[in-house]
Symmetry: C4
Subunit: 346 residues, 4 copies
Amino acid sequence: MPSGLRGEDNGGNVEKNIVKAAHTLTFQFPRLSFMFPDNYKFTGEWHLIDIQLHPEAIRNTATNYSLIEKKDINLLLKKRGKFDHKGTFGHGLLIAGSEDKAGAAVLAAKAALRSGIGLITCLLPSKAGAVIQSTLPEAMTISFTEWTKKKETGSADIYSAIGAGPGMGTGDVQTRIVEELLIMKKPAVIDADALNILGKNKKLLSLLHPSVILTPHLKEFERIAGKAANGYERLMLQKNFSDKYSCIVVLKGANSSITLPDGRVIFNSSGNPGMATAGSGDVLTGIILSLLSQGYRPEDATLAGVYLHGLAGDLAADKLPWESVISSDIIDNIGNAFKDLRADKL
Amino acid sequence: MPSGLRGEDNGGNVEKNIVKAAHTLTFQFPRLSFMFPDNYKFTGEWHLIDIQLHPEAIRNTATNYSLIEKKDINLLLKKRGKFDHKGTFGHGLLIAGSEDKAGAAVLAAKAALRSGIGLITCLLPSKAGAVIQSTLPEAMTISFTEWTKKKETGSADIYSAIGAGPGMGTGDVQTRIVEELLIMKKPAVIDADALNILGKNKKLLSLLHPSVILTPHLKEFERIAGKAANGYERLMLQKNFSDKYSCIVVLKGANSSITLPDGRVIFNSSGNPGMATAGSGDVLTGIILSLLSQGYRPEDATLAGVYLHGLAGDLAADKLPWESVISSDIIDNIGNAFKDLRADKL
Amino acid sequence: MPSGLRGEDNGGNVEKNIVKAAHTLTFQFPRLSFMFPDNYKFTGEWHLIDIQLHPEAIRNTATNYSLIEKKDINLLLKKRGKFDHKGTFGHGLLIAGSEDKAGAAVLAAKAALRSGIGLITCLLPSKAGAVIQSTLPEAMTISFTEWTKKKETGSADIYSAIGAGPGMGTGDVQTRIVEELLIMKKPAVIDADALNILGKNKKLLSLLHPSVILTPHLKEFERIAGKAANGYERLMLQKNFSDKYSCIVVLKGANSSITLPDGRVIFNSSGNPGMATAGSGDVLTGIILSLLSQGYRPEDATLAGVYLHGLAGDLAADKLPWESVISSDIIDNIGNAFKDLRADKL
Amino acid sequence: MPSGLRGEDNGGNVEKNIVKAAHTLTFQFPRLSFMFPDNYKFTGEWHLIDIQLHPEAIRNTATNYSLIEKKDINLLLKKRGKFDHKGTFGHGLLIAGSEDKAGAAVLAAKAALRSGIGLITCLLPSKAGAVIQSTLPEAMTISFTEWTKKKETGSADIYSAIGAGPGMGTGDVQTRIVEELLIMKKPAVIDADALNILGKNKKLLSLLHPSVILTPHLKEFERIAGKAANGYERLMLQKNFSDKYSCIVVLKGANSSITLPDGRVIFNSSGNPGMATAGSGDVLTGIILSLLSQGYRPEDATLAGVYLHGLAGDLAADKLPWESVISSDIIDNIGNAFKDLRADKL
C-alpha cells in the first residue's frame, strides 16, 4: 500500500503526502482505492500476493465489493442442448446506427451474433440498412417507418431483448423509440446515444426497471448521474443511481465498475488499454444484448458480458500491439474467449 | 432403451412412467422415437453399439427408415472432367432477399458458389442488388422489372435450377413469381418465405412436382402441412405431404427428416446446435440449389446437400464454440466438408 | 496414341473405329489433337514420357505449335527497380460492370492490382461505382458522363492500357465506348460483353490492331468468328482470325489456345476444372490488363497472363476441392503464383 | 563511390564520364547523392560497410543530413497507461474521398485506426459516406452540409488533428474547407488533392504553420514548389519551402526526404518498390494523422509515420512478391511494424 494512500475514499487527501509508486504489491485482494483512475499515479501497476487465506474465511467476510473472477463466469455459462433451435436463443432488437454512424450497428450486431444470439434485427434509418447487410449478411434490418407499423399491429412483441444506443442519434424519433422500448419492460441494455437521450430527458429515468442495464463511459455517466470530485465519490453516485432507479449500471473503463440494485459492486478484471478504440463500447452492447436474448438473467448477462468483452480484447492484444487493436478484432476473439473460459478447470 | 419409451410412436404414453436417461446405449441402429425432439428428455444423448450384424442381413431387412451415412454421400458425389466449363455446372436462379433482408440472398448465393455452381443470378428488388454485389462479386443480379421482360421474351429459360425463399418477402409480386417458377417445372428448392407463400395460397400446392424440394423449419412446416401433437405424428404428416404432392420435404432440425414421394424417410446424422443461428437455413438452400444446377437428381441433391450442410457446420464447430458459429462460418467450411467426404475410404 | 485417333485433324473420322482410352501415354510432346475437347473421350487423361530428345533437336524442329512452359514465363517477368513509382507501372482503364453485374468489375480490378498495376480506374454507370469502392478501396471509378467530358478535353489520354468487357452490357453507350477505345490504338484486352459488341457490330472488327488481345470463351468466339464442326476446325478459324485482323486471340478452356498474328499457336499448360466458375474470365482480363499497363509487350502479357491465371487457380485448388474454388480464390493466389514462378531455377 | 559521381550535387556533371555500377560499397554512411533517383543509374544498389567509426565522433560531426534508424523511432514511441481511454488517443478529422474516389478515405481511415487513434470522422460527400461505413464500421462520417453547421455552432473544435487530401477533389467546397482547416491551426497532414488545392491557390500557402506536414509525391511537389533540374536541386527547393513556410515537407519516393523548418533533412530507410501501388500514399496520411491525434509532436509524427509506413510495406513484401502487394496489405502489417519496432533491443 503506497504510504499515505487511503484504502477506500482518498478524496480530500493531500497529494504531496502520498508516495507515488511504480509498482504496488498487495495481499490477496486489491484495495477499493486501487480501482479509481485518480489513484493510478500513487499505485502504479499493482500486483496481488496470494497469502493463502482460507477460502471459507474469504466467503464469510461480508462485503459489498468484489472482483469478477474467471471461474465465476465459467459457472454462469449456459450449455446448448441437441434440439435447441434458433428460437431457443432469442431474437434481439438492436436500435443503433444512423446515416453517419451506421458502423456502430454493424459492430454491435456482429458481436451479438458471435455471442450466440438466435436472430438479430437492427432498427435504423433505411439508408443505413444497406450498410448492415453488406457487412453482416446474417442480420436483418427494419426502418423507422416499418417499426411504427409493427408497434400499431402489436407485432413488435416478438423480440426477446433490446439493445439501444450505439450511433443512433438523439433526435425526436429516437427519443420516442427509447421511451416505447422502456415501456415494453423487456430485458434491455442501454448505451451511448440512448443514455444521452435519458440525460436530456430525465423524466424517462422513471421508466427504468430491474431488467435494464446501463453501460455509460465517464462522460455519459456524468450526463445521467452528475459529476463527482473523484473516483470514490463517483462510485457512490453510481451505487445510488442503481438503488434509486432499480437498474444495473456498468461504468466502463479500466476495472469497469458494476453496481446492482441490491447494493453490490463488482469490478471487472479483464481488458487492456488496446481496447480504448472507436466502437469498443458498441461491441459490449452487442454481447450483453446477445446474452439477454438467450435468457441469461440481467445480472449474469452483465457480469459474463463485461468479462467476455475484456477477455476477447486481451486475446486480441496477444496477437497485436495495443495501438493496432480495433473493435473488429475484439469481435473476432469472442469465440476464443468462450473457449478460453470453458477450458479452465474449476 | 429407456424403460417405458416406445420405439416408434410414443404419442399418448404417460410421461411419468418413462425413465428419463442422461445417456442411452442402443444396438446397431437408433430407434425411430429417438429422432423426435419430444423424446429427448427420455433418451438424453444416445450412442450406438455395433453388434456386428451381417451387412447382408441389414440390407435385406425391408424398412422405409434410414440414417444418412457418410459413405452413401461419398458415392453420390460427381467428379469433374478436364474439359468441363462453367456451363457444365449450370446457371442457378435464386429468388431471395429484399430491402430489409438482402443478407439472406448473400448467404444462399455464396453457399451455392462454394458448392460448385457454374453461374448464379439473384432475382430481387434493385435496392437489394447492390448489397449482393458488394459482398459477393461472383454473383449477378436481376431486378423484378428485368425479370418480367425476360419472361415475356422467353429468355428466362436459361436457368438450370431454381432456389426460392430466403428473405424474399411474401407480397403480391413475390407470390406471382413463385407461381411462375413452379409452372416452369424446373428442379427447385423452396424455403422460408416461398414456403410461407405456399402456406397462404394453398392452391399453389397443386403446382408442386417431383423435382421440387421443400425445406421448412418447424413453424414453416406447420403453415403448409398443419400442426401435430408430437414428433411421430408430425413425421406422418410429412410423409403424407410428400406422397400427396409428389415432392421431397426436408423438415429441418437436429436429425432433419427427409421424406420422399415413394414413402422413404431418411434422417440426417450430421450437424450440431451451433448451427441454430440466423441464416443457417439460407445456406442449405444455396447448397441444394447448387447441386440441382450441377445436374444432381433431386433426391441426391437433397441427401448430399443436407449432409454437407451439417458436416460443414461440424467442421466450423471444431474451431469455434457453438455460441460463436455464424452462418458465414458454415459457408467457409463447405470446401472442407467436400474434402472430408472424399478423404474417407469406401 | 489411341488407335484410330489422328494426330492433328480428327474431323470426319469414324468414332466407333477409335479406341476410347482412360489414360494415354505419349512421347515427349502431346499431339495437337489432344488439345481439343472433342477428342477427350478418346485420350482420357494424357501423360508425357520424356524420351530425352536432344534440346537442340527440339529447337531445330520448325513448328507453329507449342505449349507454354513455366520456365518461358519465368524469363518474361520484369523486375522492379528501387526508384520505380506507381507511374512506372501504369494506369489502367477498365470498362466493366453495370448495375446488375458490378461484381465483374471488382474481380477484374482486384486481379489487376494483385498483378502489379500502378493505378486502376473503372469506367461504369455511377450506381455500380459504389460497389467497387466498398469492395476494393484501392480502385477509382469514373462514370459515363465524366468519361464523355474527359474525351472532349483530351484528358482520356492518361491511360497506359485498356481492359474492356466483364459485365459491361452491350447497349449503345457501351458500343460507342468500345469504338472510341479501339480508335485510341492503346494496348487493350477485349473480353465478354466487349466481344459480344464486336459480334453484333462486325464493322468494328476493322479497328482491331496488333496490340489488341481478344479473350473469348467458346460461345463468344462463335459470335465473332463463326461456328466450327470440331476442335481442329475451330483452331483454324482462330488462326485465320488472328491473321486477318492482326490481333491476338485467346480461346479460353482447358489448354486455352493462343493465336498470334504471325501464325504461331501456343497452348496453355496450367489450370484445372475448379476454375470453371463465375468470374474466372474476369480475373484473366484483369491480369492481362495489368501486365499491359506495366509495359509488357502484348504477346508477353498474353502468355504470362494466361499462364499466371491458370497457376493461381492450381494453387487455389491445392487448398480447396474443385467444387469450392471461386474466382476470389484465384485472385488471392496471384501473389503465390508470381512467387512460385520465380522460385523455379532456370 | 562510382568514379566521376559527385558526393552531393551531381547536377551539370557529364554523364559519360561517370562509372555506371551495378553495386556500390560505401563506408559507414551513404553519400547525399545516393539519395536521388537520377543517380541510381550510377550507383546501382548501394551497401554500407561499417568501418567502426567511434559513435561519439559521429555524434560530434555537425550535419544537417541524416538517415532514420530503427532505434530512433523505437525511442519515439509512446506507451499506453492503464486508465487511458479513447479520448486520450484523440479524435481525428479526415477530409478525404469523393463519389469516384471513396476508397482513398477508407484506406487512410483504416490506417489511422490500426495506428492507435481513439476516434476518426471522415468529412466527405454523403454518397461516399456509405462506402466508408460498409468497409470500416469503426469510422464515423460527416457530410459537407453537416460540417457547415458544425462550423457555425463552433462544435468543429472537438478534433485533435486533421488529415486532408486523399481522393477529396479540388472543387470550390473542398478549397474552402482546406482554408478553414488551416485557419484552425491544428496539427495537420496535407496530401494529394489538398496539396493540389494549395498548388492552384498559392495564397493559401501563407496559412501554413509549424504543425503542418505536407506529403507530396514528385508531381504534387512540383505543383506547390516548382520544377527542378535534378534530385539535388529538388532537395534544395524542398529545404527552402520548409524554411519559407515554416512547415514540414515529406517528398515521397524511395528514400523519402523529410525537411524540417530548422533546416534539417532526414531520409527514410524503410520501404520497397512493392509500395509503388494505388493508395500507398493514403495509408501514410492515415498513419501520420493518427500519431498527431495521439499527441505526438509534428516532427515525431512525421519520422515515426514515414518509417512505420515503410516498415509495414517491408513486412507485407516478406509474404508477397512486389507485384502483388496492395495498400490494404500495408495497413494489415501496421500492427506487425509496431511489434517489430518494439522487439528491437536498444
